[in-house]
Structure formats: C-alpha cells, structure tokens
Symmetry: C2
Subunit: 768 residues, 2 copies
C-alpha cells in the first residue's frame, strides 16, 4: 500500500486536508464520468501546482504517429490515443484582483473532497487565505449528467469571510489543450471557431487527422445568497480560448455562486454544421431545469444504477468502499447505450495505454455488464467487435493471413491495431479467442441465441479461419502446434504451444463448428446469408476439424499438469514466497531477459483457461494446476488476482481467496502500484466484482440455470449482490450461516444452491 489518505466511508470517497503532493492522485480517484464523457478531478480555478489535466470524450481519438526504436514490418503507423479534449470546467476566481490558486495561498484550511458515489457528484470545500490576506470559503459541486449526457454542471460558491471584496469569476472554454501522452509532442486539435451569443459561449474544434468535430459550450449564471443576479459581463477571447468575466462586489459573509452549465456536442451525434445549435438546445434545457433539478435527476439516475449493481458488505467498511468505487467507476466509464463505445483501461481518468479497447472487455468486463444491466448492454459490446470485423480481417491480412481470417487488435479505437511491440501485437493472439468466448458467455448467460445467426457466427468463422491458418502441423509431434506466441502471461514472449492459446484455439474451432450446425438447422435464412458471404467450404471445415482434433498440449507427466508452454520444465522453479522482497515487483527490478527465463507468471495463464473452461476439468485437476501455478504467479497485472481469487474460493481456500480479492478491490484507492496519478485501473475493477459474485457467491450459469455456492470470508458479517438473469432480478444475501434469495420479477425460477435445486418465487425471500 502506498497511501491511505482516503477516508473509509460506505458511500463516498473522502479526502480531508490539502496536500499538493496528493493532487494528481486525487485528480484520478475523484474523476467523474457519465459513460459518454469524463474528466479527471482538476480544480475549476487556476492551480499552479503539479496537476494532470484531462477531459475526455468517448470515441474521440487521435492517431498519434507511432514511436518505435526498431521498425518491424506490420507495425501500425499510428497509435490511437485517448484525447485530452477542450477544457470547459475552468472558472478562474479573483478576489480584489488577486487570483485564487491553492498552490500559492497563504493558508488552505478545512479542505475536503467528496466523490459521492451514491448520487454521482463531486464536491469540494475549503477555506483559503489569499496572498492579499482575504479569507474566503469555497464550495464547489460538479457532476456530469447521466440523464443529459452532453451536459456538465458546476456550482461554485464563494463567501468572503473577513471583509467585503470584489469577486471576479471568469468561466472559460479553452481549446488550446495538449496531451500528456503524445509521442512527438504534436498538436492533436485545431480550433475552428470561437463564438458567442449573449452569455453563451462556444468553441468549435476538430481533431487533426481523424477530423472529429467537437463543440464545447458554456453558459453561466450568478447567484448572490441564492438569488439569481442579472449581471453585466465582459468577454475576451484568443484564437482558441473564450472567457466571460462576471464581477460582484460582495459583502463580508455574502455567498456568491457561479453556476456553469457546459459540455460537449460532437459530430458523432449531430451534423457538423449543427453543433452550435445542438449546444444551444442542451444549454436551454439545462437552464430551464436549473442546477438543483439537474442534480436531483442525477441522484435518481444513479439510484437506479445502484438498485441493480450494488454490492453490500457488512462489517468491513474499507471493503464496502472498495467494491462500490469499482462499480461506480465502471458505470462512469461505460453505460452500454452506444455500441460505438467501449471500456478503456483507464476509462476517463487518464491517458495511459491509449486506445479504448483491449481483450479486458471480453474477458473481464462483459460478465459485470451482463449481470448488472439490461442484456442489450453486453450485446452492444459484442456488436462493437462485430462492426470492426472488416478491420480485423484487414489486420490479419497485413500479417499474411488469407481467406477472410480475422485477428482482432490488441489495442484499438476504431478496429485498427494500435499497438507496436512485435511480441504483443503480432503474437499475443489469444485475444482472438476471447472474442468468441464472450459470445459463448453472453449466450450462455442471456439465452439470446439469436445473436449467433444474426452477427456472432461471422465473427466466429473469421476467427476460426485465423486459428486454422495459424496452427501448423509438426511432423515431429504428429500434432498441430501453434508456434511463436505470447500468452496472457506477458512475462513469456514468443513461446511455442502456450497451453492457453492452443486450448482456446481448439475450442474456438469446435464451438464455431457446433454453432454452424445449429444455425444450419434452426436459422436457414441466416445460414444461407452467412455461407454466401463467407464462402465457407466443406473442405475448410474438414481441415478445421483435423486441426482441432490433433491439437497439441504440453503436459508434464511427472507433475500431472498441463505446461504453460513447451520447455517450461527447463526453468528453475522457485516459489514467489522465496523471492527476496527487494526483487519485487520483478518488472521494475529485473531486465526483460531475466523475467522471461524465470518461472514467474505475470497473470493467470493456464489458470485463465481453467477459469474460462471450468466445466471441462475436474476439481482435482483445478487443484493440481492451482497448486502448481499459483505459487509462481507474481500478479503484476491488475487483471490477475481476481481469477486466482475465484479459484481459491472454488477450492474452499477462503483466506487465500480473500487476500487475493483485497489486492484488486482497493488497488487504486490505496495506490498499491504507486501510479494512481496516471489514472485508475478501470477494467480490472470488473474482476473485483467477479471475485465476489463468482468467487464468494459461486455464481454460475449451467443449462440455462443460475447456480450458487455461497461462501463468506471470515472478515465479513454479510454481503449481498443482485443479478439480472433474463430480465428478472435476483438478490442474493450471504451471511455467516445462511443465504437469502429474493426475486424481483414475475415468474418463479429454479436455481441451484450448493448443487440442490431451489425454486424462488417473485418477492418471496428464500433462505438456505
């Protein structure tokens, strides 16, 4: 743990006391978002201390020219970067002409921040003594509306405590922003126009190269002691910045507040030449509602989200805060309304990693969204990949694959590959399997088989073609092998026959063939369309079958376990527990070659396969593999401990399950990796949810039925979660000695609890 300044609280993230060294961390942790746009928790007023400015719009990106030491054929020319967008939160404040700047104030007292997760807003209050000795009290509330998702609102209240004073508020829009993460320090934006209409301001910008057109807008009103004032204002502008200036002569003790309504409209949703018009509509509707009404709507909307997605934990406030923070951030990042968007690894909290979409979405996020939202949300995540199938085929073509084979990118914004490390970009191909697994998982959970004939099967065929071409026959082994890959454990590169990759490849081929048969039988029209479109031949299917049946899997007879890859037994095996602490994390201490030839595993690899395909293996198998691999896993990826936690729970090792759970749930709040100032680990937060629901709750779906094997860590008195299963909501509450099930729906369902069938009727709590 690198920090513990966040105050424990069940529903809020709280910081007390001003510390300039914490500003960047808090900017990440207190980030707000509404699934469409989001921001780091930068101060509204001028701040000259260390800060990382960031405001992001979902789907708006910039293809930054690739930076690489040694070029390899097939590298993408561009890396799609998450893009710091024009600043609309800015409100500079002057007191008797002196700028308020917390970094230069004589004193900052009673500084408090709250990220109110229950109601979805950010609040900050403090008392500051300015260099000119004027003392003011500030309260600032800000939120991004999830009801009106192009809108943000700020209420910025100043009270002069020790005298009368002239207060000047300067709300502004600034198009002259830059990215922290830019390969060549190039500009990503061009400001097209700065416009005003009375007290409404607009900046029209476009991204260079990608030509996203974005309108940033603002309108402000001033209240004195709660009364709206119709003040004169001044306007000043440069080619990329627009500032309004409101001056109030405040009496001592008077509360003057500036309310700023602002946000973005983009040409993803409006005609380019209608952006100002669209912005005006947003502003007029916002002004008509007013700040309180908008905030009320926000609270109600968040209440609805929590109603579905909340997990309660009794007896462990920090764990409660941790899991809610994870659920809150996931919802801030993606709400599933727009199939063009996805879940970036940093969400709207930072720029690192670029791109928006990794295999994290399919492997970790889909279960969360499936169970806590309408099933359309998960479907939209699948459609996102379906819509990018052509690009995935193009991507595979660049690497020499033929005949409509597809390789989904490692990192992407628009379907094109962004990443440029050969051992990842070209070799971490298991990601392709996760695309098919997500379809399987979605259909298993939702029962929405129609998705397969409608869209899924085309993706599956293209991916199976890839696997078929990527495997080659080893006459030495008399088996099909897959050479030169990087598995989920990125601490091995360019290995042969990574078990996980071979396994998911075989499974993809078999599952695709099974689905082709099913579609052929039940969806003739779709079948004809797909066959016509893909030109899939019988001989192709025969050779798929051949590859799938004769796939090679490295196995240790001695240990009775599948080996992570060929040659794994040549390594020196020494458990992580015997590794000197000062050698950890190895990725900061060791050179890459040393990491590669060590036995240490960055994140679940063979065990990832055992997680995905749990039902293919016995519990004894799982135990044997868990005993073999867990002791040599360093969990230096945020995506790792959740899978091991679930498996420890399955094996009844609750202490270990709990310890592994803890490593992710407060990863950012406690800043384990000493890097939260770069942003939060959004996608791994879904893994935390899985640890509770699938690990502790033991939830599975088998044969269209929900199953549970509830367990509870010693440290908790109780916990509860809800699951949306096929449009009915089941609430599960686990205590030390029993589990309660409550169904919100209209028809009774059968579930299994610890292997026993249980009928749960609507609104009648069942206890086991």
């Amino acid at each position: 743990m690198n920090q513990d300044y966040i105050k424990p609280d069940e529903w809020s993230i709280l910081e007390e006391g001003f510390d300039a060294d914490k500003v960047k961390s808090s900017e990440s942790l207190f980030s707000i978002g509404n699934g469409v746009m989001g921001q780091r928790a930068n101060f509204e007023e001028q701040y000259s201390g260390p800060s990382f400015q960031g405001s992001y719009i979902g789907g708006v990106y910039y293809p930054d020219k690739t930076k690489v030491g040694w070029w390899k054929n097939g590298y993408p020319e561009y890396f799609a970067k998450v893009l710091n967008a024009p600043n609309w939160i800015g409100i500079n404040v002057f007191v008797n002409g002196e700028a308020l700047d917390l970094f230069t104030c004589k004193e900052v007292k009673d500084f408090k921040r709250e990220l109110n997760m229950k109601e979805g807003f950010h609040h900050r209050s403090f008392v500051a003594v300015l260099p000119n000795d004027i003392e003011i009290a500030v309260k600032a509330t800000r939120f991004l509306s999830i009801v009106e998702d192009e809108l943000g609102a700020i209420d910025y209240e100043v009270e002069v405590i020790n005298s009368d004073a002239e207060l000047r508020f300067e709300p502004y829009l600034d198009g002259g922003i830059t990215n922290t993460d830019a390969n060549w320090e190039e500009h990503f934006w061009k400001t097209l126009d700065v416009k005003t209409e009375r007290n409404q301001g607009f900046i029209l910008s476009k991204t260079l190269k990608t030509e996203f057109h974005v309108g940033s807008f603002m309108q402000s009103e001033v209240l004195v002691d709660g009364e709206k004032k119709d003040l004169d204002f001044k306007e000043s502008r440069t080619h990329d910045k627009l500032t309004f200036s409101y001056t109030v002569n405040a009496e001592k003790g008077q509360k003057v507040s500036l309310r700023k309504y602002a946000g973005y409209v983009t040409d993803m949703n409006h005609d380019r030449d209608q952006l100002v018009l669209a912005a005006k509509e947003v502003l007029e509707s916002a002004l008509a509602s007013g700040f309180e009404e908008l905030l009320q709507q926000q609270k109600e909307a968040w209440a609805k989200i929590w109603e579905m997605a909340d997990i309660t934990i009794t007896g462990d406030v920090k764990a409660q805060q941790g899991i809610r923070f994870n659920i809150f951030q996931l919802n801030q990042t993606y709400l599933g309304k727009d199939e063009r968007l996805n879940i970036g690894p940093k969400g709207f909290t930072g720029e690192k990693y670029g791109g928006s979409t990794y295999w994290d979405t399919e492997a970790y996020c889909i279960p969360f969204y499936m169970a806590t939202k309408d099933q359309k949300v998960a479907r939209n995540l699948l459609i996102y990949r379906y819509n990018q199938l052509d690009k995935a085929i193009e991507n595979a073509k660049k690497l020499g694959f033929k005949n409509g084979a597809a390789l989904y990118p490692m990192v992407t914004m628009n379907g094109e590959e962004s990443h440029n490390e050969w051992e990842i970009t070209f070799e971490e191909i298991h990601r392709n399997g996760a695309m098919v697994y997500a379809i399987f998982n979605y259909v298993r959970f939702t029962g929405d088989f129609e998705y397969i004939p409608e869209k899924g099967l085309e993706v599956m065929i293209a991916i199976s073609r890839f696997w078929h071409q990527r495997a080659n026959f080893s006459s030495d082994k008399n088996k099909y092998v897959i050479l030169g890959v990087t598995g989920p454990n990125e601490y091995e590169n360019n290995v042969n026959n990574n078990w996980y990759t071979n396994y998911i490849a075989k499974w993809c081929l078999e599952y695709t063939m099974e689905m082709i048969d099913k579609v052929k039988q039940g969806f003739e029209e779709d079948y004809e369309r797909i066959m016509g479109h893909t030109n899939l031949t019988d001989s192709e299917l025969i050779s798929w079958k051949e590859v799938a049946e004769a796939m090679y899997f490295p196995f240790s007879e001695k240990d009775g376990v599948f080996l992570q890859q060929d040659g794994f037994l040549d390594k020196e095996i020494k458990p992580v527990s015997k590794l000197d602490k000062n050698q950890r994390p190895i990725n900061q201490q060791w050179s890459w070659d040393r990491i590669l030839r060590s036995c240490y595993i960055k994140q679940a690899d063979v065990l990832q396969g055992f997680y995905f395909f749990e039902d293919h293996f016995s519990k004894e198998d799982l135990e044997k593999h868990f005993n073999y691999y867990e002791p040599i896993t360093v969990h230096e990826s945020s995506l790792s401990p959740c899978v091991h936690s679930i498996q420890a729970a399955v094996l009844g090792r609750m202490k270990q399950a709990y310890d592994l759970y803890l490593r992710t749930s407060r990863l950012d709040l406690d800043d384990y990796n000493n890097e939260v100032e770069q942003g939060c680990h959004i996608t791994s937060m879904a893994g935390t949810w899985m640890s509770i629901v699938e690990g502790f709750g033991g939830m599975r779906v088998r044969e269209d039925q929900l199953e549970f094997t509830p367990r509870i860590p010693d440290e908790w008195q109780a916990y509860s979660f809800k699951v949306n299963f096929r449009d009915q909501i089941l609430k599960v509450t686990v205590t030390k000695d029993k589990t309660r099930f409550l169904l919100e729906g209209d028809s009774a369902i059968e579930i299994k609890v610890d292997g026993e069938t249980l009928e749960v009727s609507p609104n009648q709590e069942k206890t086991v």
Copy 2:
C-alpha cells in the same frame, strides 16, 4: 542486382555520365578514408540535388538519447552515434558570380568519377554549362593522407572553355552540420570558436555531452596554369562557418586551380588548448611538401598496403574489382594503428547502425587483419575489448549478473551498450563467445601466447563467469540449459538452447580453464596477479566444469543433426528454392511473427559453429549439417554467404561456393540490397576475403602450421593472395592445375598442401 553503372576495372571504381539519381549511391561507393577519418564522396562545390553529407572522425561519437516505443528495464539511456563532423571539403565556385551547382547547370558533360584504389585517391572531372552559358571544365582530386592522418588535400581545377570569366573560389569550414541519423533531431555539436591567421582558418568545435574537442582547419593556395599566385582574399564568417574567397580573372583556356589542405585535429591526440597549434603544424608540413609530393606519399603508402593485402583474380574483371574494393574499404576504415578505434559496420561511409563495434570485428574482421598486416593490428583489436572489460562487467551487472561476470555489448563506441531491442541487447549473448574465440584465433594464428597471461585471460574469466551464471540446471533434462537467447540467426528470438550459443558457452568455459592451467604453469607472476584481481576460487572452477560437461545440445535423432534450438522440428521445413520470389527478401515482405515461426535462417547459425569449430567435427558431419541448413538459409545478412561459401568449398561444391562468394563481393558495387546510398557494408567485406583465402585457398592454421587445400572456381583462370604468417609473407597463387607458393622472409617454413607437408624456402617458388 539493383544497379550496374559502375564500370568494370581491375584497379578503379569508375562512374561515367552524371545522373542525379545516382549521387547518393556514388557518395557511398566513392568514399575515402585513412583509418582515422573518412568521408562520403560529397561534391566540394555547392550541390542542391539529393545528397547525404557525411564526414566522420574515428572514435568521436555522440550518445544520442534512446528512442523506444516501450521501455524495458536495462535498456541503455543512450545510443552512441557515428557523428557527422564539421565539413572541411567545401569549395564553392562562382563563375561570373554564378554558382556552380551540377543540379542546376544547363548541361553536364563528360562526367567521370574514379576511386583509384591502387593509389588511394578520388578523382572527378566534368564539363558544365552554367545557367549563364559559361562552359567550364573541372578536375577535382581529393585524398585523405594515410601518411599524415590528420590531413586531407584537394586539387580543384577549373578551366573556362568558352570565354574569359571571373572565377571565385570559396573554400570554407562549416561547423553547423547535422546528423541524418538523429533520434530526436537534436544538435550534436557546439562551435566554440572561429579563428583565422592570415590564410589559415580554424573552427574549434566540441561534441555535446561527450565533449570531444575537434579543430577543423584549412589553408588554400591558388595556381594559374600551374603557377602559384599570391592572391588577396576575403574572409567572412558566421558563428559556425568560415569562408575565404579567392577571385581570379581567368582567360579562356587558362587552368585555375585551388588547392585546399585541411582536416581535423582532436583532443584524442592533442591537448585541448593546443588544437590550433597542432593544426598549424599539419598545415605547415603539408604546404612544405605540396600537393604532388603528398599524393606521391599516398601512392607509396597504398602500394605497401597492396603489397601485403592484394588478391589478384585472373579472368574475371568484375570479381577482381569486387575483391579489391572490399580490401580497399577495409583498409580505409581501419589500419590498426590505434587501439581505441575499431571497425564500424558502415566504416566512414554512412551513419546507419551507429556505434563502431559489433561482434563482426571478432568473428569476421580479425582473420583479415591478422593475415594482411603486422600482428600488432589484430592485437590492438583484442586490446580494444580488454580496455572495455570494466564496462562489460558493468553491463552484465545491469542485467543482474554478479561476481565480475562480463557481457560485451551488442553495439558500442566506448564499451557501454548502445542497442535497445530486448531480443538483441539482452539475448543475443553469443557475441560474448566471439570475444574469446577471437583470442583463441589470434593465438592460434600468431603464436603470441603471451597475450593470454598479459590481457586475454582476464577477459576470458569474466566471460566464463557470465556463461556459468547464464546457464541453469534443468531437472527435466538433467542437463544445463541456456534459456531465452537469440542466436546469430536473428530470425529467431528468445529461443531455448540455441545450439551455437550453448556450444560456444561450453567451449569458452573449457578453453578458459585450459588457459588458466597453462598460465598457472608458465606465467606464475601473471597468474598470481590475475587470481588476486579476479578472486577466482576453486569451487567456481568446479562448477564451471560441471556446467561445461553437462551442457545440453538439441539434436535430431531422425536427421542426425544438431538442431538450431529446442522446438526446431515443430517448424514446417520448406527450402528457400520453393519460396515464391515475390516473398523475398522475407524481412521486407513478412511480419516479424511470420519470420520467427518460419524455418528460414537469416545467417549462418549452427553452421557458424561448424565454421568456428571445424576441427571438432568430421567432414561427414559438416556435410549433413550443411545439407540440412543451407537450403533453408535466406542469407539476408551481408555476413552470411561467406561462411556458407567456405563450407561449400570444403565440401568440394565449387559452383555453389562461387555463387555464394559472388553475393557478398559485389554487394555494394551492384547494390543488391538497394540501400548502398546509406553507406557500404564494411565488416562483411572481410567475409569476402575469407571466402577466397579460407574457402577457395583452403587456408587453415593447425599446430602452428599453415595448411592449404587450394581450389579454383571454373570462372577464374587464376588467383593469388598473400598471408603474413608470423612475420614472413607467403604468396599463394592458384591456377587451374597448380598452386605456387612463394615465401618472402628469411627462414624456410613447412606448410601442408592437401594434407601433404611441403617445405617452402625464402624466395624460391614451390609449385604443387
């Protein structure tokens, strides 16, 4: 072949006719150097067409900030770059005020270039019609003195053909140069001072960061029809450029020539505050000798080099030109006088690859220098590495090695690693073996065993320590293995148990132990010193022995060959001959993963081991391995065909040996790789020499005796080469039916020819 504009000639490289598209290629091919400094063949006068300016000083480099997409622990912060140095060749020419510029002339006629390899100068002549219709004939001769190695001289003669005209010559020094190869477009030089003393000019510069101080200097004289004229001149300067201006009113038909004496003095050889003084001395001595005398010295000095190093080929002018070009360029790059210098892969002909020193020196260049120069030259190349031992130990330490283990860098200028691709930098560790092999090879050839107690053994111990630590015990194989390496075949990365690497590691350990015993017995004082210095313990030696004895080598029972690495048999084996031509070179056509999982070999790997350790294997073994690996070798490294050529010759496959020989000997002249404009492939030129001497001539040293197995390609009538063997020179002349041996020395030697002993007495030709 991408070009064939170079005219065949036995002793010169010739170009006829001006073609702006060829300028950059010719700038490389016609480069001149004297082992201490060198230049691309840029025009003296202004040229506005495409050109690549380059003038280089041996040992003077700049640590350019590393550029990398994804940083890995252990990467060096800097890449030592070959440095484009201040320009002293410049002579702008104005005719009636109009600048001579071949790119903008109305016409260029009778353009000829000659690189006279026999005498070591560059000559260029042409007739140009300027935009103002004045027609002039130009003859320019330039050389870098190998006698006075800080000096260059230019004779630039202009004749106005069609009228009288005012000729203005503007010889200049320019410190405001830049590198083409710069990672971040930073400046590498700072000009400290621009000085003149009468008609002598000086620019004092220093490299940034490395602080090499360099004085560039010039002095000119003007001759009209061969008569020196004591002309007035003007001087102009900026902060980094100095120009003198000489004006002559020339009559039609008069020949006016400007002779410029110039060059560099550096603080590698002089006190920093004495640079101007040193430069004045060079100038005064040069002026005293005069151009003709200096050129005469140059011819004589080159004659001496050729006397030792020449290879004659009768009946194949292109082959003759090719081999002389190779020998000439090697001598231009390195003459072995200065143990601080080494042989850069591009020599003084370009910037690509940075650094000056690769394992090319030990593996390819040392045999050439050993056999064609005094043995001190090869010794100096060994001392270069000895002097960098501390840095090699430091380098290994960064990668986690202990106890004085050394890893020599992949690319270096000063001993520190420059390279930053993990699969090369951290894993292409076989280079370490080449350091020891070079010592072995040197001692075998020269008999200078003293080098081992004096310096070599310390290097060997540090390298053996590296191998000992780098291997690990595989309990699965019950053998020692070396995991995660890149062999000489860089088309495989991060493989386990590369046979070549394991073999040279084992050999290093054994050879070092053998040498420790020998030194212990014969050089007690040195032994004590070295043991005191290295703290080598008996238990260390015991575990070296254990590793060496139990080293694992991948072997195919089925094929009866050692395998390039573990898992090689899983590949699809398809000979290069069956590969579609449009797929070649694969490094331009295929993505990296595809190259890696293919069977194709970039350059000799297992066969490199068979080359180094020929005597460890039978001819049948060689044949079996050659038959296995040669068909799947693509030779996409300039260092590859020579080794295969030698082995084809050993196997009596002269057609194949000749074809392979041809691929390197005219690689640059015919621009096979379409890249000669970036510079010449200097180090591979030594491989061409080996192909003839060791391949066709079959020269070996065994038990202090020279052995030959002469063979001649069908295409040749005869060839000859000379070998300096232990201070006596043996000339070998091979014709279709016999071989003649002529010894220049004072004591008879016994040699073996085709296995038969032959005594050769001084100055008595022996024929076999």
